[in-house]
């Protein structure tokens, strides 16, 4: 085959060149069956990139001081040269918005297009978590609705009032998601149309729940009726629907925070896979470009340099070590998966009888679509990769004075390390498991939460603070019991704090 002319030779990019690269990369990506949303590539300045950083990567968001703090911090670090900005940010929306920084060279722009516009984009469209939890075509509209709604509330009820509420909601944001139940997709039009209706309905419903006028039938019911009937893991949802004193607009804001939390939930669960998938594809797409003679040797040198620094994993004793690099782990696993399919060893055949020797593209697509970090690692981390990364597990038991190496990369350790690493990406283990346990409906209206202690890990020291936020939302006493797996009480928090002496005296 005759070698073609390279698309570009210099470092400077132009819009024409971006267009050419995008066309070529898109053509190759299609050959690999990467199914994407339409791309919207936006070229921005570094300052705009910092803006994007500080509104959690979204092109628009409601106003809150914490975003300002983020901005100030980013700006400070960037100006002092302590950190570079990311080359790109990509948003799970339809069309899929990708930001390119104007400072990037042509090579970097091409890398970013391959990485974000075809890698991440196809992941957003294909992965089951994103498909079920987020609606890419509605998120921008929804954020616009949220921004306007909150701005309106600020006008009407005052900035401080809204800020306090948002503070409280943010502190519970991690508990504003449904982990197991599948949510219905959200759309902005629906939201708007149903909002008034919901306000009214919820308010009426609440009033019934807290109705104190005695009712004859109620007295005949057994005394010990629980509310809620089942424990509720989504604290914000519970508050939105049941908090006795919230105004309708406050419920709506709780709902907005909850919806945003839900939208970001899949990203937290698929970091390794998402980055791995994107790195795998930018690597393959750009190599294909090179094989077709569309890019120069210089282009490839620059690309490989940034690629290898992105997927570099410092060892645990390096000063640069800050946990396992999700890019490294993800990229290597994807790459390894292809190897297992294309040239399996005996070990691979024994460990992965289903996929060893199968068509690699089918297998990779299947992995991308149907797994999250935890299950992906549990399923596909191979002994070979464990050896290459020299993984080992440290057991840290607070009861023992020393740390212990519990498994290393050897025959007896592979399975255990794989399990340990997968567990590390299980959000259920990373965040304390706290649920709404009961509400004292007939008495002081206090809300009792239950923390199910996992591996004997107690709650961190900012819990008291979070309790105060909960108290602000609920309006009545809050109790939080940490319960051991055997049902014994480990310790408990109260807001307002309980006066121990008072209780003892009575």
């Amino acid at each position: 085959m005759k070698k073609k002319e390279p698309i570009s030779t210099g470092a400077e990019w132009t819009f024409d060149l971006i267009n050419r690269y995008d066309e070529e990369i898109g053509r190759i990506a299609e050959g690999f069956r990467l199914d994407t949303y339409p791309n919207q590539i936006e070229v921005i300045t570094s300052e705009q990139m910092m803006d994007a950083y500080s509104s959690v990567g979204m092109p628009l968001n409601y106003n809150h001081w914490s975003f300002g703090k983020q901005f100030v911090e980013t700006e400070q670090n960037y100006k002092r040269g302590r950190m570079g900005l990311a080359y790109e940010i990509v948003i799970n929306s339809n069309p899929c918005i990708a930001y390119l920084m104007e400072e990037n060279t042509m090579t970097m722009q091409a890398l970013v297009i391959a990485h974000a516009c075809y890698g991440h984009n196809s992941f957003f469209k294909g992965n089951y978590l994103f498909r079920t939890w987020t609606d890419a075509s509605a998120i921008i509209d929804y954020l616009l609705f949220a921004k306007n709604y909150i701005a309106k509330c600020e006008e009407r009820y005052g900035v401080s009032e809204v800020e306090e509420l948002l503070d409280s909601c943010h502190s519970l944001m991690n508990y504003g998601v449904n982990r197991y139940q599948r949510p219905p997709p959200l759309t902005a039009e629906e939201e708007k149309a149903r909002q008034a209706e919901r306000e009214e309905y919820v308010q009426r419903h609440i009033n019934q729940l807290w109705n104190t006028i005695p009712q004859k039938q109620a007295e005949q019911l057994p005394k010990e009726q629980r509310f809620p009937k089942e424990p509720e893991e989504n604290l914000l949802y519970f508050i939105e629907k049941n908090a006795p004193l919230l105004e309708p607009w406050q419920r709506e804001i709780v709902r907005i925070v909850r919806k945003v939390a839900q939208y970001f939930y899949p990203q937290k669960q698929t970091q390794v896979m998402n980055e791995g998938w994107a790195c795998f594809w930018h690597y393959n797409l750009l190599h294909q470009l090179y094989d077709e003679g569309l890019v120069t040797d210089g282009f490839m040198m620059e690309f490989l340099h940034s690629h290898s620094s992105v997927i570099y994993q410092p060892p645990f004793d390096s000063p640069y070590f800050s946990g396992i690099n999700p890019y490294t782990l993800g990229y290597n696993m994807m790459h390894d998966l292809r190897r297992i399919c294309e040239s399996p060893t005996d070990e691979d055949r024994q460990w992965f009888p289903d996929i060893a020797g199968s068509p690699w593209l089918d297998t990779l697509h299947d992995a991308m679509c149907n797994y999250k970090d935890e299950s992906f690692i549990l399923q596909f981390l191979s002994p070979k990769l464990i050896r290459e990364l020299k993984l080992f597990t440290i057991l840290d038991d607070a009861a023992s004075p020393t740390l212990k190496v519990s498994s290393i990369h050897d025959e007896s350790g592979y399975r255990q390390i794989r399990e340990d690493l997968a567990a590390q990406y299980n959000l259920g283990n990373r965040e304390p498991n706290i649920q709404v346990y009961s509400v004292n409906v007939r008495g002081d209206r206090s809300l009792t939460l239950r923390h199910f202690v996992h591996n004997g890990q107690p709650l961190g020291e900012s819990s008291d603070e979070v309790m105060r936020h909960l108290h602000r939302l609920w309006g009545f006493d809050i109790h939080l019991d940490s319960v051991m797996p055997d049902g014994t009480l480990y310790n408990s928090f109260h807001c307002p704090p309980r006066q121990q002496e008072l209780i003892e005296a009575v």
């Binding site: 840290d396 607070a398 340990d420 900012s462």
Partner: protein, 429 residues
């Protein structure tokens, strides 16, 4: 299909609102940092931005997370010599990354240093003005350091009626009339020529009939020419004026302060704020400002700023020594024609008994005739002494260039300036 959009020219400063919210929330911390900066900084670079540091724990956002303790496992990369069953001591703190705690905990460990960021000049001044109770207009004036002058700059086609340039407008009207009537006038000329040739053939009936019709046509054409508006909207020309920034002339500011034993550091800090305000005010009005620091107890001495505010002296107080020195410096270095001279004197009111009337005389004869403004502030909560009484007499003689005020706390500083500002805003209007 991809869309490529250039967003670089989109609105900037999208995060401004969030930044403001952040500053508002931590106003207490920022205020402290600004106060510190005011006390440490030189007067002449007071209106730069500043660095603010907030303890990390004060700005953390609380969430439920795992505390220390319990059993946990963590996987690390890059094993070198460990084998199963190796045990070693827990590393101290979260620092080495050796293994205690989750990734989150060690991030927090690193993040222990305080949260530091920059605020810009406007924000800095805002926080500094807080507590001085300056009216908004004055704050604005202090911030806009450039002065503008209106200058003529040619002519425009749009403007307000009072700026119409009559000659240009009529000239334009004339030109328009000439341009629009060209065809008609050419025809008139042709017709007149024709009439002339026809007149040569007179008395021919046919010719005279023709002449009559031609005359009619000429009349028609002239009517049409006449119907052109004499002046039209788009003939109007207006004088154009533009605002150009102009540097104003030079000013010198004398800071005179009593540094005798009775002046405590807090009194000096109030005085410093007073000088800062005066400096900022002058900076708005003058391009070039020099500051002369003169301190005194029984002798006066010209010093640098550091020594002025922070070195301690003891002993009696003779104010006239400083006034004499001031007058000397003015005479030697700042001729009245070239410099706008401002003097700000701060004192706790003490003076040696026999000295006050000397002060009055020096001011009367050597200083007040040469200065734009002389401000005396007495920072004390006690009763007034003889210097105050002496100065009160002076005030009647120099109502426009002499002001005196007692200051008990920072909020009292502003009224001293009110008079000065009043005069200046009148001048600007």
């Amino acid at each position: 299909m991809s869309y490529i959009i250039d967003r670089r020219l989109n609105a900037r400063k999208k995060s401004t609102v969030n930044r403001q919210r952040f500053l508002r929330r931590y106003r207490k911390h920022i205020k402290e940092a600004v106060e510190d900066a005011v006390n440490q900084r030189s007067i002449t670079d007071i209106d730069k931005g500043g660095q603010v540091t907030i303890p990390r724990r004060d700005i953390s956002e609380p969430i439920f997370h795992h505390g220390n303790g319990g059993v946990r496992k963590k996987v690390f990369p890059g094993n070198k010599e460990f084998v199963v069953g190796d045990e070693f001591r827990r590393p101290e703190g979260g620092g080495g990354g050796g293994g205690s705690g989750s990734g989150k905990a060690s991030n927090q460990g690193e993040g222990e240093d305080d949260f530091t960021f920059q605020i810009n000049q406007d924000e800095f001044l805002d926080f500094m003005f807080e507590g001085l109770e300056l009216p908004y207009l004055v704050k604005k004036q202090l911030r806009d350091a450039t002065e503008y002058e209106t200058r003529r700059a040619g002519y425009t086609n749009a403007g307000s009626p009072d700026k119409i340039h009559i000659i240009r407008s009529l000239r334009a009207a004339n030109a328009r009339r000439i341009a629009l009537s060209g065809k008609e006038r050419r025809r008139v000329r042709e017709l007149k020529k024709e009439i002339e040739t026809l007149e040569a053939r007179l008395p021919d009936d046919d010719a005279s009939a023709q002449i009559a019709t031609l005359r009619l046509e000429i009349e028609e054409l002239e009517k049409r020419i006449h119907r052109l508006p004499w002046i039209d909207d788009y003939d109007l020309k207006y004088n154009n004026t533009i605002r150009v920034p102009v540097p104003s002339s030079k000013a010198v500011m004398f800071c005179v302060m009593d540094v005798s034993g009775s002046m405590t550091q807090s009194i000096k800090d109030i005085a410093k704020r007073f000088y800062i305000l005066l400096y900022l005010f002058l900076k708005r009005n003058y391009k070039q400002i020099e500051v002369v620091f003169i301190r005194h107890h029984t002798h006066a001495k010209e010093v640098d700023e550091q020594e002025f505010f922070y070195s301690r002296e003891t002993g009696g107080t003779i104010v006239s020594s400083a006034l004499n020195l001031t007058a000397d410096v003015i005479a030697q270095r700042y001729p009245k024609g070239d410099w706008n001279i401002y003097v700000a004197q701060a004192s706790d009111g003490d003076n040696w008994d026999g000295d006050s009337d000397v002060c009055g005389k020096i001011l009367q004869s050597r200083i007040l005739p040469k200065v734009q403004y002389y401000a005396y502030v007495e920072i004390t909560t006690g009763p007034h002494q003889n210097l105050w009484l002496e100065y009160q007499n002076l005030q009647q003689g120099w109502p426009h260039s002499f002001a005196m005020h007692q200051i008990e706390e920072p909020t009292d500083i502003y009224p001293v300036f009110r008079k000065l500002f009043e005069r200046k805003t009148e001048g600007a209007a």
